[in-house]
């Protein structure tokens, strides 16, 4: 009994995670007819209450076929999402990794003050910087282009904070040894910093991907043309009337982030822990 007790609460909470996923997965394999039988009261105001079966009675791939073959706009949105997530992460590799390295290796008072500023910027919610970002994008004519999302993401200070922890863990003696051997600061960065800090880079990338795959506020504010929208913003639009399609689209949107999550879970955990390390 004493052994079972600590498992009960986590098990109950885990069910609250697994059941919604089963709902999405199972629902995406149901025909429109079956779905409207269960969810009719929600979808079309037929009397009574909705009910649900975990497994479809007549499994079908029809929603996926319709989504993948007959919904060209879905591909546009999917591609938009890929572009925004990949572009943000790619930009960060060129901007954030060297900056994180610099902060980890500099211990002067000025660099510490600057780092505090970076942390404060990292902690500001989108709504605070929304107006200023809008003014810049409007002034540079980048409004309603993907750049209005990409540029703020590329210069985000969050990945710098995460990676900085990992770079800082590299012993100073290793770096001094390389200096004595005559290595330049770039050689040290590429041959010592990057290989030894790669977990930190991976952690920041996993956390970043989950964030950028899920953008709502930024595209909503900066993108007027619907053809530029990412999946995360497009998905809620197809709910009405086409719940089967929405479920299938949900599952397909979910897949890349679940894969990144399962593949990178240990990095994710390391990243979360790094976000919590004392500064």
């Amino acid at each position: 009994m004493r052994k079972l007790l600590p498992g009960a609460l986590p098990l109950a909470l885990s069910l609250l995670v697994w059941l919604p996923l089963a709902f999405l997965g199972g629902g995406s394999l149901m025909s429109a007819l079956e779905l409207s039988g269960y969810l009719g009261p929600v979808l079309s105001d037929t009397p009574g209450y909705a009910f649900w079966r975990l497994l479809p009675c007549y499994p079908t791939l029809a929603p996926y076929v319709e989504l993948l073959l007959d919904s060209p706009e879905f591909f546009v949105m999917f591609w938009n999402s890929v572009k925004l997530a990949a572009g943000s992460l790619l930009g960060q590799t060129f901007v954030a990794i060297p900056a994180a390295w610099w902060f980890a290796r500099c211990s002067g008072r000025r660099s510490r003050g600057l780092f505090t500023l970076y942390i404060i910027l990292m902690l500001m919610p989108f709504q605070v910087t929304m107006v200023s970002s809008y003014l810049v994008m409007d002034g540079t004519g980048l409004l309603d282009t993907h750049w209005s999302i990409l540029l703020p993401a590329i210069f985000s200070t969050f990945p710098i904070f995460i990676m900085h922890r990992f770079f800082k863990a590299i012993p100073q003696s290793v770096i001094e040894a390389a200096q004595i051997d005559g290595a330049s600061s770039w050689q040290i960065f590429f041959h010592i910093g990057l290989p030894m800090g790669k977990n930190g880079v991976a952690a920041a990338m996993v956390l970043g991907f989950l964030e950028y795959w899920n953008l709502i506020e930024q595209p909503m504010t900066f993108l007027k043309s619907k053809t530029l929208w990412p999946l995360s913003l497009y998905l809620p639009q197809i709910t009405a009337g086409k719940i089967g399609l929405a479920l299938a689209a949900s599952v397909i949107t979910l897949l890349p982030s679940i894969l990144v999550f399962l593949y990178g879970q240990s990095y994710l955990e390391q990243g979360i822990m790094a976000s919590g390390a004392k500064e």
């Binding site: 600590p6 498992g7 609460l9 986590p10 909470l13 995670v17 709902f23 999405l24 969810l39 929600v42 009574g48 209450y49 009910f51 901007v95 060297p98 610099w102 980890a104 290796r105 970076y118 404060i120 902690l123 500001m124 919610p125 709504q127 605070v128 910087t129 929304m130 107006v131 970002s133 810049v136 540029l151 590329i154 210069f155 710098i160 770096i175 200096q179 600061s185 960065f189 910093g193 989950l210 795959w213 899920n214 709502i216 506020e217 999946l231 995360s232 913003l233 809620p236 709910t239 929405a246 949900s250 949107t253 979910l254 990144v260 999550f261 994710l268 955990e269 822990m273 919590g276 004392k278």
Partner: protein, 280 residues
């Protein structure tokens, strides 16, 4: 001795610093200026925009709701995640599957969650079906103060795993010798929890407070996708207000409100930091 200079090459920082200056610092300075200027013409108006913001009914409602949301959901989240972390800590190696499960919501797109919420919490949705089936009466979840609790639930569902991982890291950092010494002195489990575990988790608590505060602002995604621009008044938050002012292009009020929110968050962080530094 020469200061080791490996990596202090300023070129490493330059791209980032330029980007942050151009895209964040300078524009925020502009917002600060605008917060003291009129929307039309831009002449200085002193604190007029600020008084307009504080006198605004929608702002008061939104600020009160946001405060209430933070005040309710952060304590619940921190306490629940601590209990779960203690359970997982007691389970040891076997807890891995639970930890994975609880982290998954971080990867689930908000839009999928919202789809589920619509089916669950519609007036004729699944929860009401179960409630009436069990002899209870239906609840109008999204058009009543219950909407607030649905949102609190969404926030906890999403952030629980994150917090559990941080608590677990904190727990793993407590030296076992402390417990052994206490046990030798005859301390019971409850005593050890209050005198060893909790005090040693204080640094983790600080971090979690800051992070949960920041993540609480992201719950707007759920609130917006469920309720649109004007949801039930119990979940009308600052983020909705910002969004609506933005659509109306009320740049004067928006600038002043952004400065106010930034100052409040900065103040909260400083306060937490000071409390924490005292602890050390």
């Amino acid at each position: 001795m020469r200061r080791p200079s490996g990596g202090t090459n300023p070129w490493f920082l330059l791209p980032s610093l330029m980007g942050v200056t151009l895209f964040v610092l300078v524009p925020f300075g502009d917002v600060l200026r605008r917060s003291f200027a009129s929307a039309m013409g831009g002449q200085a108006v002193g604190f007029a925009n600020y008084t307009a913001v504080f006198a605004n009914k929608a702002f008061r409602l939104a600020a009160a709701n946001t405060g209430r949301f933070l005040g309710v959901c952060i304590p619940i989240l921190l306490a629940l995640s601590l209990v779960v972390a203690l359970c997982l800590y007691a389970l040891g190696e076997r807890a891995a599957l639970f930890k994975t499960s609880l982290l998954i919501p971080m990867a689930v797109p908000v839009a999928s969650v919202v789809l589920l919420w619509q089916v669950l919490f519609d007036g004729q949705g699944l929860t009401n079906g179960w409630l009436t089936g069990a002899g209870g009466s239906a609840v109008s979840w999204m058009d009543s103060p219950m909407a607030f609790w649905v949102l609190v639930g969404s926030y906890i569902w999403k952030n629980l795993g994150y917090c559990v991982v941080l608590w677990l890291a904190g727990l793993a950092g407590i030296s076992p010798s402390l417990y052994e010494a206490a046990r030798v002195d005859g301390a019971g489990n409850v005593q050890m929890f209050f005198w060893i575990t909790l005090p040693n988790l204080l640094p983790t608590l600080y971090t979690l407070l800051v992070l949960s505060l920041i993540n609480a602002f992201k719950v707007f995604r759920e609130a917006y996708l469920i309720g649109g621009d004007y949801p039930h008044t119990s979940i009308y938050q600052l983020q909705h207000l910002f969004n609506n002012w933005f659509r109306e292009l009320s740049m004067d009020k928006l600038s002043a409100a952004a400065v106010v929110v930034a100052l409040v968050i900065l103040g909260l962080i400083m306060l937490l930091r000071r409390a924490w530094d005292k602890e050390d």
